[in-house]
């Protein structure tokens, strides 16, 4: 008997800063749109476990896209003529996320990003507050220096092995080996110089230390950081969260890649956050549906496919 994941993938054309990018994305579930942002140099596969989780898919349309140059999203057609190395900038990253959400006609999606995808949440809160309904910033802080370095893209060094090994220790030694090494593999598959170029955003172009106090607090922001994250330590996240009005901060016993390195632990950590987001969703507020257990949810959601597992967040 064949076994399939419920994930389906497509390509959408996204125009950003004068160029159009054939962009790969995967999705599953239905409900509140939740767009997931991968870490530097990798792709949306980091969210495969969450996308296969029926408890999440029952209330969220989970979407993970590959940034241009990453995964199955190709670079711009004239990339080989570039006179500078690839560098992800804050302005491009923010505009691309918004353009992607508009390309899919998403109405006030939730954004969940980790590492650089977590840091960009601060920019989204500052500049695009009205576009989103909540931000989940995993392993995020307002300044994460030290990672934009030459050895990560050097012709005498195997980029895949060096990049993947340099991030391996960001994971908790207690995360399952198979998932830690799967995460290593994602990193080893990145294009030449792409991890380093993303880290231009992560370590150079995203110093938000003097800006985060301007975040209004109207958009809920949830910070979650693992104790083994040495690039964005729990203290760095806590200091950032203290400056962001209305934010919540959770420190947990994990590492820098919670969605892929230990999906079981991550589900424990993220479930209360997702429950709050469902409770705050204007379309569901006061309806009690999906929050009282499978039977109540099924009774109040007649449009949903019967027999489907229902959220118990």
């Amino acid at each position: 008997m064949n076994q399939h994941d419920p994930i389906v993938g497509r390509y959408v054309y996204v125009t950003c800063q004068g160029k159009t990018y054939r962009t790969y994305y995967e999705e599953t579930g239905d409900g509140i749109p939740m767009v997931c942002l991968h870490t530097a140099g990798t792709d949306g596969r980091q969210y495969r476990h969450q996308m296969c989780d029926p408890d999440i898919a029952a209330n969220f349309r989970v979407i993970a896209f590959d940034m241009p140059w990453h995964g199955k999203s190709i670079p711009p057609s004239d990339w080989y003529l570039m006179e500078d190395e690839y560098k992800l900038t804050t302005s491009f990253y923010g505009e691309f996320i918004v353009a992607f959400c508009r390309a899919l006609d998403l109405r006030k999606p939730v954004i969940m990003g980790q590492s650089m995808g977590g840091n960009i949440c601060l920019h989204l809160a500052l500049k695009y507050e009205s576009e989103f309904s909540a931000l989940i910033a995993l392993e995020a802080c307002d300044y994460s220096p030290g990672w934009w370095i030459y050895p990560l893209h050097h012709p005498h060094i195997h980029g895949g092995e060096a990049v993947a090994t340099s991030v391996f220790g960001l994971m908790s030694p207690e995360s399952p080996d198979e998932y830690r090494w799967e995460t290593w593999w994602y990193y080893a598959q990145g294009g030449p110089g792409i991890f380093k170029g993303d880290l231009y955003f992560y370590s150079v172009d995203s110093d938000f230390r003097d800006q985060v106090h301007k975040i209004s607090g109207r958009l809920p922001i949830y910070f979650l950081t693992g104790e083994y994250d040495f690039a964005c330590t729990p203290e760095m996240t806590e200091r950032t969260a203290e400056k962001v009005k209305g934010s919540e901060c959770v420190i947990f016993s994990g590492g820098h890649f919670p969605t892929s390195e230990d999906p079981v632990k991550f589900k424990e950590v993220i479930t209360p956050v997702l429950r709050k987001i469902v409770q705050n969703d204007p379309d569901r507020r006061g309806g009690n549906r999906a929050l009282s257990g499978p039977s109540a949810a099924a009774a109040s959601s007649p449009a949903r496919p019967t027999g489907r597992r229902v959220i118990d967040l």
């Binding site: 220096p145 030290g146 050097h154 060094i157 993947a164 340099s166 220790g169 030694p173 207690e174 040495f230």
Partner: protein, 134 residues
């Protein structure tokens, strides 16, 4: 014993036990096939010269002499940091050489010619992780 394991003392005998663990490993000869370098493992003020051939440790020695003609790169940290690194479950910020070397933490100093360090990092990382088997 804490949840992270017991503290270890580092002398040449301990280094030898670690080197024998390295040489019994069946993965290192594959991922370290081209790892042919000499590096210094610095523990407090003591320098151990580690000579690697094909991913195995061919020689260890305590202290450097003029006849060594130098070394390729060095990893230096206090014994307190190596002791945490070598625990079965190392605590946060000590579980990895990059965690210890990161400018935010400054527990470990990497010096010398870092090109062979980067080139062989995957094998080197496994080699060092076998300290947890000693």
């Amino acid at each position: 014993m804490s949840r992270y394991g017991s503290r270890k003392s580092f002398d040449l005998e301990w280094i030898e036990r670690w080197a024998r663990c390295v040489n019994e490993d069946r993965i290192l000869p594959v991922i370290g096939r081209f790892f042919n370098n000499r590096f210094v493992l610095g523990v407090d003020e003591t320098e151990f010269l580690i000579e690697v051939r094909g991913g195995k440790i061919a020689r260890i020695s305590e202290g450097l002499t003029p006849n060594d003609m130098g070394f390729d790169f060095a990893l230096r940290a206090p014994s307190s940091a190596w002791a945490k690194f070598a625990m079965q479950i190392p605590p946060p910020m000590f579980n990895d050489i990059w965690a210890m070397a990161h400018p935010l933490h400054k527990q470990l100093i990497i010096d010398g010619n870092t090109l062979p360090f980067w080139q062989n990092m995957r094998a080197l990382t496994r080699m060092l992780s076998l300290m947890r088997e000693v």
